[in-house]
């Protein structure tokens, strides 16, 4: 019987003392911030004019949908969370919120985020958001996570969908650009989470979660990290030769990719002791920066593209004023 079940029995009929902060913690704010950022990029690179109010509505709904997924995930994984040092401090294992309260909270947010996005923006985006929540909660959390070492590979699709939802919200359709963003996040997920799993493998083993280092061993995981990183770097650079983004993005993507490759090679090379631990921690930390920097470059390129004609238009006027003053 899990720690959570003990709480339920000991407390009997309980009256919640959960604060708003406990419910915010259920939303996984750090994951949500990455979702918001990647969705924002999907929204900004989409062609055509999208009213700021509708853009704000879309991002808000995607963020709340991501939070709902986090709450439902915590409701369903309370037994695992209680056994892992990384997650033991979450609101449910601490006894602040019961799994059924988290479930109700998550379902309410999921319903309102999908319906609001569908009604106020469009139903393609609403449907995709519903699919994202379903995939994360049912396919990943309830099925894959406790069943296969490929859990985070397939489940990574849920984390990769926010920019696609955002693009669909802005355009009402889908095309190659959001698919590329999807693929970048999809192939980024395994090296990122397996690096974490390498230095938290004891946690996962104790909780009975079949992460790759637990099932196949750390050496097989190191090889998989290296292989996925090669694919990731190639896919991340792909928008440049495919003509979706220019050379600035291509060069930055390759430089960042070189950093990822170097750290992945180090993870593969150093297999024991402190050097091995340091290599996996560095890859995990850099992978977060890598994704952020890659998407920030996309964002900046679009902003520069939009601002450049304005600067070109006003430059002669500014020059004339400057010469008149001079």
């Amino acid at each position: 019987m899990s720690v959570v079940d003990h709480h339920a029995i000991e407390l009997g009929p309980r009256i919640s003392e959960a604060e708003v902060g406990d419910y915010i913690a259920l939303l996984k704010p750090r994951v949500m911030s990455l979702v918001i950022f990647t969705a924002l990029v999907g929204l900004v690179i989409a062609p055509g004019h999208f009213h700021p109010v509708l853009a704000f509505t879309s991002i808000l709904c995607i963020a709340v949908g991501a939070g709902a997924s986090g709450a439902l995930n915590m409701a369903l994984e309370a037994d695992i969370d209680a056994l892992m040092s990384r997650t033991a401090n979450r609101p449910i294992p601490r006894g602040r919120i019961t799994p059924s309260e988290a479930m109700a909270f998550g379902l309410t947010l999921a319903f309102f985020s999908v319906m609001t996005l569908g009604v106020l923006v469009n139903w393609l985006a609403g449907g995709l958001l519903a699919f994202t929540i379903f995939f994360y909660v049912v396919v990943y959390t309830m099925w894959l996570k406790r069943w296969t070492a490929q859990n985070i590979v397939i489940g990574g699709a849920a984390g990769a969908l926010p920019p696609v939802v955002a693009w669909a919200a802005a355009t009402g359709s889908l095309s190659m650009e959001p698919l590329l963003l999807f693929l970048i996040i999809f192939f980024w997920t395994p090296p990122h989470f397996w690096a974490l799993a390498l230095f938290r493998s004891d946690d996962y083993a104790r909780a009975g979660v079949p992460m790759l280092p637990v099932v196949a061993g750390p050496d097989a995981t190191r090889l998989q990290i290296l292989l996925y990183t090669v694919v990731l770097v190639a896919i991340a650079a792909a928008p440049w030769p495919l003509g979706y983004f220019d050379a600035v993005y291509g060069v930055i993507s390759l430089l960042l990719g070189a950093g990822m490759m170097w750290l992945a090679i180090n993870v593969y090379r150093y297999r024991v002791g402190r050097p091995a631990l340091r290599a996996t921690r560095r890859l995990f930390a850099f992978s977060i920066f890598y994704l952020f920097a890659l998407f920030a470059t996309l964002l900046l390129e679009v902003v520069v593209r939009a601002v450049a004609p304005v600067i070109r238009a006003v430059a002669p006027t500014i020059g004339a004023i400057a010469s008149a003053i001079g």
Binding site: E19, V20, V53, F112, T116, L120, G172
Partner: protein, 54 residues
């Protein structure tokens, strides 16, 4: 049942009252945001608010 045996019911502690009040305020704020959001989008879309493309 005489008066002495009548149950008092559940009496909330101060901490429970405070956290319930905070949660209620948060729910009210969330509903307020939802109302403002629907109003703003209705203003932005005008008559087009009834057009809901796939």
């Amino acid at each position: 049942m005489d008066d002495e045996q009548k149950p008092d019911g559940i009496v909330l502690t101060e901490a429970q009252k405070r956290s319930r009040r905070h949660r209620s305020v948060a729910i009210a704020l969330a509903l307020g945001v939802l109302v403002v959001l629907f109003f703003a989008v209705t203003m932005v879309k005008g008559p087009g608010v009834l057009v809901r493309p796939m």
